[in-house]
Amino acid sequence: MTPAQEPLLQVEHLRVELPTRRRTLVAIDDVSFSIMPGEVLGIVGESGAGKSVTGAAIIGLLEPPLRIAGGRVVLGGRRIDDLPYEQMRHIRGREIGAIFQDPLTSLNPLYTVGRQLVETIRTHLDLGPEAARERAIALLGEVGIAAAAQRIDHYPHQFSGGMRQRVVIALALAGNPRLIIADEPTTALDVSIQAQIIALLKRLGRDHGTAIMLVTHDMGVIAETAHRVAVMYAGRIVEIGPVRAIVDAPRHPYTVGLMDSIPRIGGVRGRLKQIDGAMPRLGEIPPGCAFNPRCPLVFERCRRERPELLPSASGAAACWRFAEEGARAADG
């Protein structure tokens, strides 16, 4: 990746709101990031942090009453967040592919996988039925399904969980998209199958230059797959940077706590480090830094003012500690 390259996806100051009868809740608040072609960006966070909503907002599949209330989503230089439904339909599948957690609900149980693949291919590419079927078989082979020419006429229930997720990935690839949004693609799978799917996703990025936005709560999956990672907490990005930097030397106190609380194999057994409390619900996000009630390093300013993402060593972290350090460095 050369720095001169244009980012494929740019998300700028994205804000997603959830209007309720009493007031409007903010699900995603001022989220900005970009993904380069061929890059795997991991989005990690606990349930309710807003990672899936971010993915849904980009692909234009927010479930009402959730709505984009601000910011821009730019794909390959073209703004896509304000497109009418019909135009967005052409971008979904053609430009952006999606993989969701549960492979069974992503497939229609009444049609063979071949029919679903051919339909998707013909929607997005100008191919005849024969050529589309050939491409479907090639796609199934590409995602590692043996005897694809026979398997193509099977129904989803005839596939195992891991094989179904491969079919879903083949569907996501059908239109040759430049970006794939994978939302917890391995969460429903066993570890040995998970490793196979991770290897497949990495190969796609490497061989086709497909950019992948990988949404997961599993830091291990991110560490093995992603180039960069964004850590989300209560609807905001609290830290973003190269994956090794975040895993080995996290800066934000939440990332530090998150990394410490992951059980590991090897080393001392016994008590795990824990972050007390839980992530606040949408309606109860405290003023200042959303993490301040759980933060071991909290000070006055954190309760009052909300920190912005500030560039740190190699990435950026939203924490007043660094802002104060930076100011002190500037003074000295």
């Binding site: 066993d190 590991r264 194999i265």
Partner: protein
């Protein structure tokens, strides 16, 4: 096998599920009866005061063991001895209930395992009422309050309904309920797999504290090997309804014997890929076979890089090797040496080291 300190002893436990087609279809289309052998001869003991973990992928039968133990399933064959008493002999309520008080279960899904229409006080008090452990209402409320404090909730939480709590708090309520009858033995079936990692750490620490405070013996079921490494004393690895390896936790992760154990440890996504090797490793192909029609011989042989003719024909039994129990012909014949998993030099120093596993050939 009879160990003096054994609290739970399971001998050749079998549990089959009937998955036959309907009778008419069997008659007309001459389809045979079919059985899923969820457990096909499982034997192990749990010693008093220890945490024994069962690990394996979905469908390996680990939850079936738990459900047989607490009496939610009736075994098809085999014996379960609890403190020397055969559970299968306890058919009548009068004899079974006092024994059931001594074992309690914590379930995976804190959203499904609590009655949404009951207040927390009533949920936690249910075992007290069932087993007639408290006399007056005041006594009952006092005990519930005590339990809620023990799991780091407040006594006032007893007035609330389950939906008012987060997943982690609900699992605390489950734990309070399980502890209410002062059991000796806890069966924990994936107690943290529905929780976020930071909450998982809270719950695992809480369980550890309570276990030592009340000297509980635990059966801990999980598919998460890192969690198992952290909480358990001994580990049993299951594959397709059979135990393939039983070993002390530290030994199992440092020197796994069975090829399936090695595969499991090798495929966990790591935070610290050593030299980028783990990041680029090729995952083992194949999947867990269909349990209705398991392969003959060793059930793992179609995926096993060390399988030979004997593995395809003859089913291996658990034998002792290197201080552990393992069911593998290759290990028994000395064809397969214990895995030399290279742990980094000072695993304790950083607390971040992991086995950088490669199959030792």
């Amino acid at each position: 096998m009879a160990e003096p300190q054994a609290l739970v002893e399971i001998r050749d436990l079998k549990r089959y599920f009937d998955v036959s087609p309907p009778p008419l279809e069997r008659l007309l289309q001459r389809k045979p009866r079919a059985w899923v052998k969820a457990l096909d001869g499982v034997s192990f003991t749990i010693r008093r005061g220890e945490t024994f973990a069962l690990v394996g992928e979905s469908g390996c039968g680990k939850s079936t063991v738990a459900r047989c133990l607490v009496g939610l399933y009736r075994p098809s064959a085999g014996k379960i001895l609890f403190d020397g008493i055969d559970l299968a002999g306890l058919n009548r309520r009068k004899t079974a209930v006092p024994l059931r008080r001594r074992m309690q279960m914590i379930f995976q899904d804190p959203y499904a395992s609590l009655n949404p229409r009951w207040r927390v006080r009533r949920i936690v008090a249910e075992p007290l009422v069932t087993h007639g452990l408290v006399g007056s209402r005041a006594e009952r409320d006092a005990r519930v309050a005590e339990l809620l404090v023990q799991v780091r909730l407040s006594p006032e939480d007893g007035d609330k309904f389950p939906h008012e709590f987060s997943g982690g708090q609900r699992q605390r309520i489950s734990i309070a309920r399980a502890l209410a009858a002062r059991p000796e033995f806890l069966v924990c079936d994936e107690p943290t797999s529905a929780l976020d990692v930071s909450v998982q750490a809270q719950i695992l620490n809480l369980m550890k504290d309570l276990q030592s405070a009340f000297r509980l013996t635990c059966l801990f079921i999980s598919h998460n090997l890192a969690v198992v490494y952290q909480v358990s004393d001994r580990v049993g690895v299951m594959y397709l309804g059979r135990l393939v390896e039983i070993a002390a936790a530290e030994q199992l992760f440092a020197r796994p014997l069975h090829p399936y154990t090695r595969l499991l440890i090798d495929t966990i996504p790591r935070l610290d890929p050593v030299d980028g090797a783990a990041a680029e490793r090729e995952p083992v192909a194949g999947e867990v076979p269909n349990p209705i029609d398991p392969p003959p011989g060793c059930a793992f042989h179609p995926r096993c890089p060390f399988a030979d003719a004997r593995c395809r024909a003859e089913r291996p039994e658990l034998i002792e090797a290197d201080g552990a129990l393992v069911a593998c012909h290759a290990v028994a014949e000395g064809r397969l040496a214990p895995a030399a998993l290279t742990t980094s030099s000072h695993p304790g120093a950083t607390g971040r080291a992991g086995p950088s596993g490669k199959l030792a050939l």
